[in-house]
Amino acid sequence: MTTSAETHFIRSTFKEPIAPPMRTSGAIHWLRENLFSSPLNTILTLVILYFLYSIIPGIVDVLIIKAVWVAEDSKACVADVVGHPVGMCWGFVGAHWGYFVFGQYPEHLRWRPELFFALEGIGLAWLLIQRIPRKDLGMIYFFVVFPIVAFFLLSGSTTLGLEVVQTHYWGGFLVSIVIGTVGIVISVPLGIILALGRRSHMPVARSSSVVMIEFIRGVPLITVLFMANVMFPLFVPEGWRPDSLLRVLVGVALFFSAYMAETVRGGLQAIPRGQYEAAQALGLGYWQMMIKIILPQALKIVIPGIVNNFIGLLKDTTLVAIVNIFDFLKVIEASLNDPVWRTSGMPFAGYLFAAIVYFILCYGMARYSMSVERRLATDHRH
C-alpha cells in the first residue's frame, strides 16, 4: 500500500522538550508575583524601596543609635554638651519611670500598686487564655473578688493596717489602668443588663434602656466627663463631696456601658429563636433561660466585640487628662514642664513613649480579638 505511507506520519525521534513552566513556588516566584507583576508595579516597588531606603536609616539613627539612653537632666541630651547631634532622649523616660507608672503614690507603698498589677494580670489571663479552665471561677474572681481586694489595696484601710493613700496621689499608668479596669468591671454587667432591657417585652424597661443607650452614644465622652466633673457634685447632698477620681470613674463606666450594651445586643440577636423556644419549652424562667442558655452563647460570640470595646476604652481613658486627672498622658505632660528637663526635644520622647505603650497594649488586644474571631469563625466564605 503506497498511499498509506503518504497519509501517515510516525515521528521516529523525540521532539526537544519545551522549557519547564515558570517557578510557581519559592522566593523568585513570590517576588515576581507580589512585587514585580507588571511594569507599573515594578516602578511602584522601586519607588517605595528607595523611599524606605532614604528614611529608615534616619529613623533608626534618631530612635536608637544617636539616642541618649541614660540621663540625669536635660543637659545630657543637648547636642552642644554631648558634642554630637543627639536623637531621642530616652533618658528622660528613664528618669521619670516611677512617676510615669505610679504618679505621686508614696514610694515606700509602691508594692501595693505592683501587687494590683499582678492580680489584674492573673484575672485577665484567666479570662482571656482559652486553655485555663474554670472560667466561671475566673469571672467571680475578676468581677467580684479582685475589685474589692484592689480597692482596699490601693486606697488603704486603717482597720486592715494599710496606710490610707488619697486618690490625688495616684497617677500615671496606675490611674489609666484603674480607670480601664473599673470601666470593664462595671460596663460589662451593666451593659448586659441594658442589652437585656432593650430586648425586654416590658415597655418601661425597654424604653428606659433605649433612652439611656442612645443618649450616651449620641454625645462625646468629654461632655460626659464634664458632666461627671461639674454636675455630679450638684446631684448629691452637699456633705458627700464625691472624690474627683470617683466622679470620672462613674462617667467612664456609664459611658462604656452603653457601648457594651450594643455589642451584647448584637450577640443576643445572633442566637436563633429556637434556643429561646427550647429553653421555654423546658420550663425555664426568664433569668434561668438567660443565664443558662442564652447569655453563655451570646457572650461567646461577642468576645471580639467586647475586646474591641476594651481597646476603645483604654484609648479613651486618656481623655480624663482634660478634666485634670493625672493619668499616664497627663503625668508625661506634667513632667515636660519639669524645670530640670525643659528643652525643645523632650516632648517627642515623652509622647513617643506613650504612643509605644498604648500601641503595644491596644495592638495586643486587637490581635487577641482577631485570633478569637478566627477560632469562632466556622463558615468558609472565600
Binding site: 517605595i48 416590658m202 452637699e238 482634660i322 498604648y358 500601641f359 472565600h382
Partner: protein, 396 residues
C-alpha cells in the same frame, strides 16, 4: 384529680403573684419608681445646692456680654458680643473642623483601604502599617503629637518656611493666598452651575439610551467640555474676575492672605489621620465582603477589571461601607470635641469651658452642649439612613 384539670390547668388556679402579667406590671412599677426617685433626688439636691452657692439658673445669661475673645471666628464676634453669639461661634467651629476632616479623612481612608488590597505586597504592607499604627494610638496623643510635637517645631515668623504657591508656615499657623472674588465672578459661576445640571441630564439621558438599545452613547468628552471649557471661556470673557490676596512675609509676621491657626491645622490633620485608618478598614471590609463568585461571574460575562469594580463590586460593597462610614463620621464629629485639649475654640471649649467658668452654670452649659451633639448625631443618622435606603439591596 381529673384528667382534664391536670392537662389544662384553668386560669383561676394560678396564684396572682405567679401570673406573668401581674409580675411584669409589678417589676415595671418598681423600675419606674426607682427612676423617678433617682431623678427627683438629683433634681432636689441640685436646686438646693445651686441656691446655697448662689448660682443663677435659667438662660438669662444668653444675652449677657461675654467679655472674652475667641481666636477663630466664622461670624463676626468680639468680646462685647453675647454668650449666645459665642455659642454659635463655637458650634460653627465644631462644624467646620468636622466637615473639613470628614472630607479629607474619606479621601485618605478610601485610598488607603484600596491600597491595603493591592496586589503589590509592599504597598499593601505599608498601608497595613499605617492603619495599625493610627488605630491603636489614642486620638488625644495623636493631637498632642501634631500640635506640640510637629507644629511646635515650626520656626518663628521671621524664619518662616516658604512653600510653593505662596504658602507660608510658621508658629502663627499656615498662611495661604485668599481668593478675592470680583462682582463679575457671578457669570462664570452661574454658567458652571448650568453646565453641571446639563451634564447630569446628559448622563441620565445616556442611561436611558443604554437601557433601550444596550449601547451607551459616549458622553465623556462632551461633559468635560461642558464642565471645564465653557465656564473657562466665560471666565476669560468676563475679564477674569478672580484674584488672590497673597500673604507677604513681613519682619515679624506675614500680612494679607488667609491664616489657618495652628490649632485648626492640628485638629484637621489629627482627626483626618486618625479617622482615615478606621475608614480604610471599613472600605477594605466592604470590598472583602463581596464573595469571589461575583468577580468570577463578572469576568465570565466578559467585563473588564475596571468594569467589574465599577459595576459589580462597588455597588455591592457600598451597601456594607455606607453604614460603617456613617458611624465613623459620627464619631469624628464627637471626637472634634477634643479640640478643648489643644485650645481649638470648638463648642465644648468655648461653652463647656470658658462660658461655664465665667457663669458657673454647669447644668445649663453641659445640657446645651450635649443636646447639640445629640441633635447632630440624630440628624446625621437620619441622613445616612435615607442614603442607605437608596443604596440598599432590592430584594425580589
Amino acid at each position: 384529680m381529673s384528667v382534664e384539670s391536670a392537662g389544662r390547668p384553668s386560669e383561676a388556679k394560678v396564684v396572682f403573684y405567679n401570673d406573668p402579667r401581674v409580675r411584669s406590671l409589678f417589676f415595671q412599677l418598681i423600675l419606674l419608681a426607682l427612676i423617678v426617685a433617682l431623678f427627683w433626688f438629683a433634681y432636689d439636691n441640685t436646686v438646693t445646692n445651686l441656691k446655697k452657692r448662689n448660682i443663677a439658673q435659667g438662660f438669662g445669661f444668653w444675652n449677657v456680654e461675654a467679655g472674652f475673645d475667641i481666636s477663630q471666628t466664622l461670624i463676626s464676634y468680639s468680646a462685647a458680643s453675647s454668650y449666645g453669639r459665642a455659642f454659635w461661634v463655637g458650634l460653627l467651629n465644631t462644624l467646620l473642623v468636622s466637615f473639613v476632616s470628614i472630607v479629607l479623612a474619606t479621601i485618605l481612608g478610601v485610598v488607603i483601604g484600596i491600597l491595603r488590597l493591592s496586589k503589590n505586597w509592599l504597598i499593601a504592607k505599608l498601608a497595613t502599617v499605617y492603619v495599625e499604627i493610627f488605630r491603636n494610638i489614642p486620638l488625644l496623643l495623636i493631637l498632642y503629637f501634631w500640635y506640640r510635637g510637629v507644629l511646635g517645631l515650626l520656626p518663628e515668623p521671621r524664619d518662616s518656611i516658604k512653600l510653593p504657591g505662596s504658602i507660608i508656615l510658621n508658629t502663627r499657623g499656615l498662611m495661604m493666598p485668599r481668593p478675592v472674588l470680583a462682582d463679575a465672578f457671578i457669570y462664570p459661576l452661574v454658567v458652571f452651575v448650568l453646565m453641571t445640571i446639563a451634564s447630569i441630564a446628559l448622563v441620565w439621558w445616556a442611561g436611558r439610551v443604554q437601557e433601550r438599545t444596550g449601547i451607551r452613547p459616549k458622553t465623556g468628552w462632551l461633559i468635560a467640555g461642558l464642565m471645564v471649557l465653557v465656564p473657562s471661556i466665560v471666565f476669560i470673557v468676563s475679564g477674569a474676575p478672580l484674584s488672590f490676596d497673597v500673604p507677604v512675609q513681613g519682619r515679624f509676621n506675614a500680612s494679607g492672605g488667609m491664616t489657618l491657626a495652628p490649632e485648626f491645622v492640628s485638629m484637621v490633620v489629627g482627626l483626618t489621620t486618625y479617622t482615615a485608618a478606621f475608614i480604610a478598614e471599613n472600605v477594605r471590609a466592604g470590598i472583602l465582603a463581596i464573595s469571589k463568585g461575583q468577580t468570577e461571574a463578572a469576568q465570565s460575562l466578559g467585563l473588564s477589571h475596571a468594569q467589574t469594580v465599577r459595576l459589580v463590586i462597588m455597588p455591592q460593597a457600598l451597601r456594607v461601607i455606607v453604614p460603617l462610614l456613617n458611624s465613623e463620621y459620627l464619631s469624628l464629629t464627637k471626637n472634634s470635641s477634643l479640640g478643648v485639649s489643644i485650645g481649638y475654640p470648638d463648642l465644648v471649649s468655648v461653652f463647656t469651658g470658658t462660658v461655664l467658668n465665667q457663669t458657673g452654670q454647669a447644668v445649663e452649659m453641659v445640657s446645651v452642649t450635649m443636646l447639640v451633639y445629640l441633635t447632630l448625631s440624630l440628624l446625621t443618622s437620619a441622613f445616612m439612613n435615607w442614603f442607605n435606603r437608596r443604596v440598599a439591596l432590592v430584594e425580589r
